[in-house]
């Protein structure tokens, strides 16, 4: 049904009504009677043994209700925070996950790690109490450098050489052979800078305990409330899942950082029963900087082998990934299965070998941040390819085109464990070249040079594996949970529809997109569909939103449940029309018997389902409500071309992005306006990584860029207007033909920017972020 609100229409978002009027309901907006306030006492040392913690002064501080240390949680058998993905090393051994108590007991291992909590009648009282905690530490030398972490002092007793795992993927012998045959080898040493996610809503949690029903309720800023509940029940031992009610109300952005189960909500929900009153915690921004899981932070050596003619023969990548002080919830999977598997990019490179060692340092844990592994992979591949083209004096677009996997090659099995289902990489490249006015670049460059400026153009032809994930594949690779999605479509008596999804919207616009999907499929008004998410008591077990999975997996589950509704409704219609089920056709909200005048509206059938006056009850149940679980057969593979053009002030080194073109293939698109918005946001984060953002620790382990005074957030005037368009090869294995769009911008943009800057400067590589001083130094020749 092609309508103004159906699939493919840029419907204005329904959720906006509350956000633009200030009536959204975020966790910190919720207050409950008797509420207390929690403040965490955090380590100011990067690495130290806890000798003693004295809470007595805190307890006698006016307004303080309680003070707890890690041992108090341990006494109640509160478990460690787990890492949910088991990665195996080359030698077959399991990765080493050191103990991670929510509240430190014996040691603190990064600045910001909580070692006590104080609960007060007010935030001020809790802060006063926190300041009165007296702790003694034996300070140790922290391990701060990723590259040398394995040769540094051992952080965790159970982790020799500070190495969690040493993983590999691909055929080493074949790859080495490819390099021996190569006419040319391009190599790069790359650092992928640490980023701090900075969702504008700080994390928060409000826990309460109802003693009569022994039930806990947790309101928290989670991208996946069911997973939160699962971990708190199964690993942390708070309570059985049925006694744990987790609600993620409106959530102010996540970008990965709100996927994970953190110390704070764990302690808050536990403490609510200890003090017998609701406990609330809201992070201030300093805490967000110190304790949200950070992103990226790789050191990599990468080589690309090419033939005389410019064919890619082999790719060899060796990466050390910084895990921070502990393994966060999904940390182990990010530099492995979301990174190594993407090294084929859009190319037919026949032999690829990737080695990744994951190391611990005395920094905040590192986990998935928008794109998660795929931006790092794209950065390696696309920096190498662009560099190779320059070294071979070949056109950067043509070298890519020569090596593309072509439309006729699909399904294409890569040497790194993925099977791409479909794509047309040349189509995106061609469209992007047109938008970027590639042929006019030389004259633009000449004009800039006449003004004493430098100008550069950079490409990034990225691919991502999204729609996480086929459970069978994920489980076989070590995932601790399946990665399907659930949906329930409830038709009301009057024919309106409520959709429950296990996906969670924290900006993605599900309330609109999913309603479009259902209204389109059922032929009912868009306004008559409501979408409910974020509440473990209202929707079936779901896996939440990350990895660009909501439309591909969650949307497919909704599609499947909606199909079941149609099937059941046809049965009812057949009964009402005194016909056979297979005689009923359904189109645009009308049930008809072909070759007859008889028809029923969706509303009439819905009403009948709940007023089953003469249903043959042994054959036809009353009601019209269906559930579905959708587990994808494969990942989806969004891909595209990003082209960035920069101009550099030669005197100051300041880079301006004068043009940014993104042409992405997301398969079918439900709401183009929302999809474009997702791309814009991703681009800003990708550009932010290249130009502005950097999580920096000093050698003592203090987070130097620990506030907005020093961590450069992209502002409006740091960014250009974007040129965004799409091409489409529909996904072949989900019912909607969709691929997902949430991460593409962040995955593709970074390499395009750095390729443009290195082009402008005529240098091989430059560390990120390319700050004005970094660029200025490159211009000075070192």
């Amino acid at each position: 049904m092609a309508t103004e609100t159906g699939i493919g229409a840029s419907v204005r978002r329904t959720e906006d009504a509350r956000f633009i009027t200030g009536t959204g309901r975020y966790t910190d907006d919720i207050n409950v009677p008797g509420q207390t306030y929690c403040v965490f006492v955090r380590s100011t040392h990067a690495r130290a043994k806890i000798k003693s913690i004295d809470t007595s002064d805190a307890l006698s501080t006016p307004g303080v209700v309680a003070a707890f240390v890690g041992a108090d949680l341990a006494k109640d058998e509160i478990g460690d925070l787990p890492c949910g993905w088991l990665v195996k090393s080359k030698d077959g051994s399991d990765m080493i996950a050191p103990p991670h108590p929510p509240i430190a007991t014996e040691r603190v291992n990064y600045v910001g790690e909580p070692y006590a909590l104080v609960i007060g009648e007010t935030v001020q009282a809790a802060k006063d109490g926190a300041e009165a905690i007296v702790a003694e530490f034996e300070i140790q030398t922290p391990v701060m450098d990723v590259a040398s972490a394995t040769q540094s002092e051992q952080i965790h007793e159970s982790v020799p050489s500070n190495r969690s795992y040493d993983w590999e993927l691909g055929d080493k012998a074949a790859t080495d052979a490819a390099f021996e045959d190569a006419a040319h080898v391009t190599s790069l040493d790359i650092v992928n800078n640490r980023l701090i996610p900075n969702a504008i809503e700080p994390r928060a949690a409000l826990g309460s305990f109802d003693a009569a029903s022994e039930t806990y309720t947790l309101h928290t800023t989670s991208q996946n409330p069911h997973l939160e509940r699962l971990v708190l029940a199964a690993f942390v031992n708070i309570a059985p899942e049925a006694k744990l009610h987790v609600v993620s109300p409106d959530v102010g952005g996540g970008f990965g950082s709100k996927i994970f189960v953190y110390a704070e909500e764990t302690a808050v929900i536990w403490a609510s029963a200890k003090v017998g009153r609701p406990v609330k915690w809201t992070a201030d921004r300093v805490e967000s900087f110190l304790s949200d899981a950070h992103g990226r932070d790789h050191v990599t050596h990468a080589e690309l082998a090419l033939s005389e003619e410019g064919d890619f023969l082999g790719l060899r990548v060796k990466t050390t990934a910084n895990m921070g002080a502990y393994l966060s919830t999904f940390a182990s999977s990010v530099p492995t299965y979301l990174y190594g598997t993407l090294m084929a990019g859009q190319y037919k490179t026949p032999a690829i070998y990737v080695e990744v060692q994951a190391v611990f340092t005395n920094t905040a844990p590192v986990d998935a941040y928008r794109g998660a592994g795929r931006p790092e992979a794209t950065y390696v591949v696309e920096r190498l390819v662009e560099t190779a083209a320059r070294e071979l004096n070949t056109d950067v677009a043509e070298l890519r085109r020569r090596n593309f996997i072509n439309p006729e090659d699909f399904p294409y099995e890569t040497p790194v464990a993925l099977t791409y289902d479909t794509g047309n990489y040349a189509a995106s490249l061609d469209k992007a070249l047109e938008y970027a006015n590639y042929s006019g670049f030389a004259s633009r460059k000449a004009r800039s040079e006449a003004d004493g400026k430098r100008r550069g153009l950079g490409f990034s032809c990225y691919i991502e594996a999204c729609g996480l994930a086929p459970s069978q594949v994920a489980l076989s690779l070590g995932a601790g949970v399946g990665l399907f999605e659930s949906a329930e479509v409830r038709v009301d008596v009057t024919g309106s529809v409520t959709v429950m999804t296990g996906a969670h919207s924290h900006g993605q616009g599900h309330e609109t997109t999913f309603a479009q999907l259902v209204s389109d499929k059922l032929g009912i008004p868009f306004e008559n569909v409501s979408v409910v998410h974020g509440d473990t008591r209202r929707s079936d077990y779901g896996l939440g939103t990350y990895g660009s999975r909501s439309i591909a997996v969650g949307g497919s589950a909704i599609s499947k449940a909606t199909d079941k509704i149609v099937t059941k409704a046809k049965k009812i219609a057949a009964h009402m029309l005194d016909s056979e089920e297979d005689q009923v056709s359904f189109d645009d909200g009308i049930f008809t018997i072909p070759d007859s005048n008889e028809s029923l509206t969706f509303g009439e059938v819905a009403f009948s389902a709940y007023v089953p006056g003469n249903f043959p009850l042994d054959e036809l149940e009353p009601g019209l409500s269906e559930k579905a679980f959708y587990d994808p057969a494969n990942f989806t593979y969004p891909a595209g071309t990003h082209i960035c053009e920069v101009e550099i002030d030669s005197e100051t080194g300041t880079t301006s992005i004068v043009s940014f073109v993104a042409v992405d293939d997301f398969g079918n698109v439900i709401n183009p306006m929302i999809v474009e918005g997702q791309v814009h946001g991703g681009l800003a984060q990708g550009i932010g990584q290249a130009l502005l953002e950097h999580g920096i620790y000093d050698s003592d382990g203090q987070l130097v860029s620990g506030s907005y005074m020093d961590y450069t957030m992209p502002r409006a005037d740091d960014l250009p207007d974007f040129v965004v368009d799409t091409t489409s090869t529909p996904c072949t294995h989900n019912p909607l033909g969709v691929k997902g769009c949430g991460e593409a911008g962040a995955i593709g943009a970074t390499a395009a920017v750095m390729n443009a800057i290195t082009d402008a400067l005529g240098v091989k590589d430059l560390p990120m972020p390319a700050t004005s001083e970094t660029v200025w130094r490159a211009i000075q020749g070192g």
Partner: protein, 260 residues
Amino acid sequence: MYSFRYHRAASIEEAKELHTTSDEGAYLAGGMTLIPTLKQRLADVDDVIDLGGIESLKGVMTSGTSMKVGGMAVHNEVAANATIDALRHLASGIGDPQVRNRGTIGGSIANNDPAADYPAAVLGLNATIHTNGRTIGADDFFTGMFDTALGDSEIVTAVEFPMPSRAAYIKFPNPASRYAVVGVMVSETNGNVRVAVTGAGTCVFRASAMEEALTNEFAAESISGISIDSSSFNSDIHASAEYRAHLVGVMAQRAVSQIS
């Protein structure tokens, strides 16, 4: 925030009295630095004395040869009403629009943040600082990092800028905070050239070699070869001392080019 007593002074005299009798008192001007500092518990005061109710501290006035800015005039007021273009430009680039609606010139120069913009204006335009007891020349006012010649309970009532024959301010903003990594005010007033630099060192300072060169010939080329001693310059994650020294030269030349 630690607890404190809030007072809204109706007059300069009342404000001074409140401050003098407090064990640990703090004047509150625009609050753009003080309030975040208090919020993060980086300061603990007994009394906060709000100067926002004192009418005589507000306003921007121009007489024939000078412009007088009330100590409590907010940046946006200066950006809108200053008759010295360079000052208007400088004020319009401080912080962000919301900060400019609250932050004041008196608060800024009394705080003397090494990366603040206003100290460059005051020193670079050779302003006179009026307080509730005396006047202080710009050259004597800024005494070190976060330090000024102001006495303990002294209040900046106004800053008086002589009208320059030409002046320009160019700033290289910190990408994160938008303070000045380096900001340079160049002016010529009655034949006297001044070059004041903020952001680079621990305190705003005059670049005397540049002043001399520009006095000889007011052109960007005159100062292009002058090397800046960066040995006492700030160095942080945004800019090394060496880069700051380079930027001083670039910003100064750009300022001169704008007005020559």
